[in-house]
Subunit: 271 residues, 2 copies
């Protein structure tokens, strides 16, 4: 697959890059269908928020035009965009006025088992807890050791995703996805003001649900909420929605609200 | 300055490197004097512990021999070693059996004002709090956005270091250093089992102090401990020890125990 650095073909990066040194940057993982980046405006919105919170100087309009150009060449697949605070000498102090470095990499659309979307997945109960850092919560930044540790906890391919809790035991998200519960027709998802990644598909569903007459609550979730849920699903901006069929001793059907939103997610990704 | 990747001269890194993608790795910042890496055994000890906790497969003996070779060419300066979990395709899952990639970079010894070591420094009160993640606490890993945010809080060059607290308000460390207090002749430093970087100079001082008849306590520290301290200092493995002369409305002399340990630190760095 081809990759670009600052709009030019490249396969390597300067060793001084602050993305390598400190994880000083952000990323977006964007589905590309028919030569177009899916859910682009939401990806760019999150990116702009991340730049603002990290003090990263990025030209979002330039990023957008590069993403369009890259996607048209990629055709079908996944585009990964990394923004880093450029290169630096030794030391954490960020230099002012350095434009963010733009890295684009591509990969084929992953070939997930069809059953993930149809009958649902099993969730692994990760022991790795998410630390609570409001300054970074919600962002898709490059400091992802917690996800690496969590994903290393299981090898059983029967678990397509793992459930991550925070250090106080609240349910937060999947390693690669956001978590939604349905109870009495209401859609519930975790408040991500202390930790977690505020996914773009999550944002899209939070926008769409009220338009479909579905009530939504964003709040703290605990294990009891999972026990009382009628339906459970995970979502991300590559595969859309997968029903959760099993977690420990709990199980759920691929319920009606999940399947309805899954169709919505599919449409959002395809257009 | 010259740099190496896996023992070979290189100035660039594959874009697929997991250090860039996730901050999936560790680093060490090592003073080099007279062609020799200072405090090498303590650096390698921390590195080995980090590899064990992250499940990174590194040949520490090979790292050691490379560091000796690199230091002999560098002569005087600072060697930065980065270990990453090699390259990867998309996804957090670490592949088994991939040897850690070794990156070595050099820089000149920093030219700090002489007064930092002699009369001491002023500490900036950082608002950025350290999240509590016992799985990563103590390690010098590549997820350093908290330090980047903290260091971005002040531009005033009169503050040579900033004091970082955890999300519960405990005193933890400097952005680039560890913190010690002296009270009634006892040396105090923060417990780093929830967050913070367990510095190599801190480890060396914790070893040396008892040999000098100095009592040491590693425990939780709060602002009140700072108010009651007779002496305060910060330390790292490049400059050794700097007395802290001022923090907000508090001030301290460069006290006798600080100066005694400063001489010890100097000897440790020089031999």
């Amino acid at each position: 697959m081809f990759s670009w650095v600052d709009g030019q073909p490249a396969s390597a990066l300067n060793l001084q890059n602050r993305g390598l040194a400190y994880g000083d940057g952000l990323f977006e993982t964007i589905a590309v269908r028919g030569g177009r980046p899916s859910l682009l405006s939401l990806h760019l919105e999150r990116l702009a928020l991340g730049c603002q919170r990290l003090g990263l100087e990025a030209d979002i309009a330039l990023v957008e035009s590069e993403l369009h150009r890259y996607a048209s060449l990629l055709g079908e697949g996944v585009a990964k965009l990394i923004l880093t605070r450029g290169d630096s000498q030794r030391g954490y102090a960020p230099a002012a006025g350095v434009p963010a470095r733009r890295i684009l990499q591509g990969s084929p659309l992953p070939a997930y088992p069809q059953t993930n979307a149809e009958t649902g997945i099993r969730l692994f109960p990760c022991q790795t807890r998410l630390a609570q850092q409001p300054l970074l919560a919600g962002l898709k930044h490059l400091n992802r050791l917690e996800q690496v540790l969590a994903r290393a906890e299981w090898q059983d391919s029967a678990c397509a995703e793992g459930l991550m809790r925070d250090t106080d035991g609240r349910l937060i998200e999947g390693v690669y996805s956001n978590l939604f519960l349905v109870r009495d027709g209401v859609l519930l998802t975790a408040d991500l003001s202390r930790c977690g990644v505020a996914g773009v598909m999550r944002a899209a569903l939070l926008q769409q649900a009220p338009l479909l007459g579905i009530n939504v609550q964003v709040r703290d979730l605990v294990l009891e909420d999972l026990q009382q849920a009628d339906e459970v699903f995970v979502c991300n901006s590559v595969y859309g929605i997968w029903p959760v069929r099993e977690f420990g001793a709990l199980d759920w059907p691929a319920g009606p609200l999940t399947l309805k939103l899954q169709a919505v997610a599919r449409t959002l990704l395809d257009t």
